[in-house]
Amino acid sequence: MTDAFLVALGGVTEPYTLLLMAVATFAGIVAAAIPGFTITMAIVLTLPLTFAMPPMQGIAVMLSVYVGGLSGGLFSAALLGIPGTPSSVATTFDAFPMARQGNPGKALSLGLFASFVGSIISIAVLIVAAPPLALLAVKLGPWEYFALIIFALTVIASLVGDSLIRGLIAGLIGIGIATIGPDPLMGRERFTFGYEILTAGIPFLVVLIGMYAMSQLLSELEPATGDRQPSSGALISGDMRPHLWQTIKNILLKPVNVIRSSLLGVFIGAVPGAGSSISNLLAYDQAKRASKHPETFGKGEPQGVVASESGNSSTVGGSLIPLIALGIPGSPADAVLMAAIMVHGISIGPRLILDHPDLVYSMFIAMAIASVFMLVIGVILMRAFLRLLNVPKYIVVPVVLACCAIGTYTLNNRLSDLYLLACIGAVGYLLKKLDYPLAPLVLGVVLGPIAETNLRRAFQTSTDWTLFFTRPISALLLTLAVVSVIYSIYSYMKQRRLMAQRLEATSK
């Protein structure tokens, strides 16, 4: 164990790797700070650059983009009043008023330091939770694994989007897409209809890039509607000094808020489908409820910025728990990280930590170092980010779309993937317009082959299907899946009842 840790430490702290990580953290911050450019997009676009790197270096670079990206949204939230990514929506509530009151430097440094503390807490939880969970997961049979994936997909479908049924349809379409090409056990060709383009199947990263990046970028070109948050128009001016020492003192002297928000972020990050876009709002809400002065929230309250930023940054550690321990990515960004590891021939699953402990330790170390980089780069380049935020959409959208094409082509050096990308992107945009959540679809493509392999293995071992319900862990997971569906239906009905009551009250 110590040897593996030292190997990992040596690998990550090589000067060249550190330099690449610093650049990646900077790129992550910049990408997330540009409204319309999501963290997942940034990670997807980094992937082809890591192909030529050793696995440890590649994954360290990807994690740096991830960590940087989670705090990058803060800049546009505080300085423009537009959340750069969905994970910084709650940051806008207090950071923007604070910046408009003439304290942009303080708002940014509060957010950056809270992000740093959140990341460090999440890494600590990850180190403690992932190895024992992986040891437990090694003992799981195909019945439990299949049940786990069913549970994960139902949770994702019920948490993302407005409609459970569309979430479930999207998840199943994703699994359906994954069945195209050779079957995972015997390699028999399925649903190719004689087209050579489909014989190798549809790579999940092409689906991810098409569905996520393309549909998001195309949505950016839609005419602005009234419900979109308006930009402030002008850049914020005022005291841009970070006042870092005072900020550190402020946060550390009132540690309850940052710890509560971070732990909430870790927990939400560990739940498949629920990510930083939910955690920042929940952490903010909890901070407001716990505050003695809830009326100050939304008017530049520092604790609001702290709660939102520590809540979103801490999801990174949480989301890596199921990935490292079970081999199940909880979000599209984790799915790309998974791909980055698999590209190097390393299989993801509970044995990852047993077979490649050095790689797992390097992930822990890389995240910690990236958090430090994020804080340092954020504080030093605060003024420069102010200028970078104004990159116009007419440059961002085509350039990122071209980068998507590069990322897609370099995955397998296959031109046919480019045609698939255009088709999947168009379908993804259409599904998005029709309010189908895309996260379950993308994760369905990743989880589908794992579910099929385990289901078929279970039946190869025994044809008794009741084992899914009589083995305790499998039964528990399937029960939880049913509960998550029932709960989602209950919440939906409750929400409808409340809305009807409100409508009735306003019409009286």
Partner: protein, 165 residues
């Protein structure tokens, strides 16, 4: 049962249509999966799992159609409203077409030329017509067409598509 105006009914109508199309597609795929040969080595053959999945999709779509009808009744919209919505998405559609042309052109014209042409055309279409923006568009198009090509070939030994002539 609530009735919606024609404007608000557009998305529910399209959703209903999507459920129907997806359900039909799923049923077709499920029957296709059923025609895959059985395996001598395992009780489930290569088609069983996809069959379960595609039948589940068809059932869920059927349920969604029933729920939508029972909740809101038949949504009523007009072709005119649909056309107006489509026209409002003109920029998106043109960009999608430009991107598709770019994807098709890349194997023939090569990465550098196709990317340069795509970036320049798209930026000129989206950007306000000013001499500065044209200059910026040309600079960005050169930077992001030649830049990645040489970065990938020189630094990573990955060769992006070359022109076929």
């Amino acid at each position: 049962m609530e009735r919606r105006n024609t404007e608000a009914a557009l998305i529910p109508t399209l959703q209903l249509l999507s459920y129907l199309i997806i359900a039909l597609g799923a049923l077709f795929m499920a029957f296709k999966a059923g025609s895959l040969p059985a395996s001598r080595w395992e009780p489930m053959n290569a088609g069983t799992f996809p069959q379960i999945i595609f039948f589940s999709i068809a059932i869920l779509c059927g349920m969604a159609i029933i729920f939508e009808f029972s909740k809101h009744g038949l949504p009523r919209t007009t072709f005119c409203i649909a056309w107006r919505s489509l026209i409002s998405l003109k920029t998106v559609i043109i960009n999608l077409v430009l991107f598709t042309v770019y994807m098709v052109a890349m194997p023939i014209a090569g990465f550098i030329i196709s990317t340069f042409a795509y970036l320049l055309t798209t930026q000129l279409y989206l950007a306000p017509r000013k001499p500065t923006t044209v200059a910026i568009a040309i600079f960005v198009a050169i930077l992001f067409s030649a830049g990645p090509y040489y970065l990938f070939s020189e630094a990573f030994n990955i060769y992006l598509p070359r022109a076929q002539w």
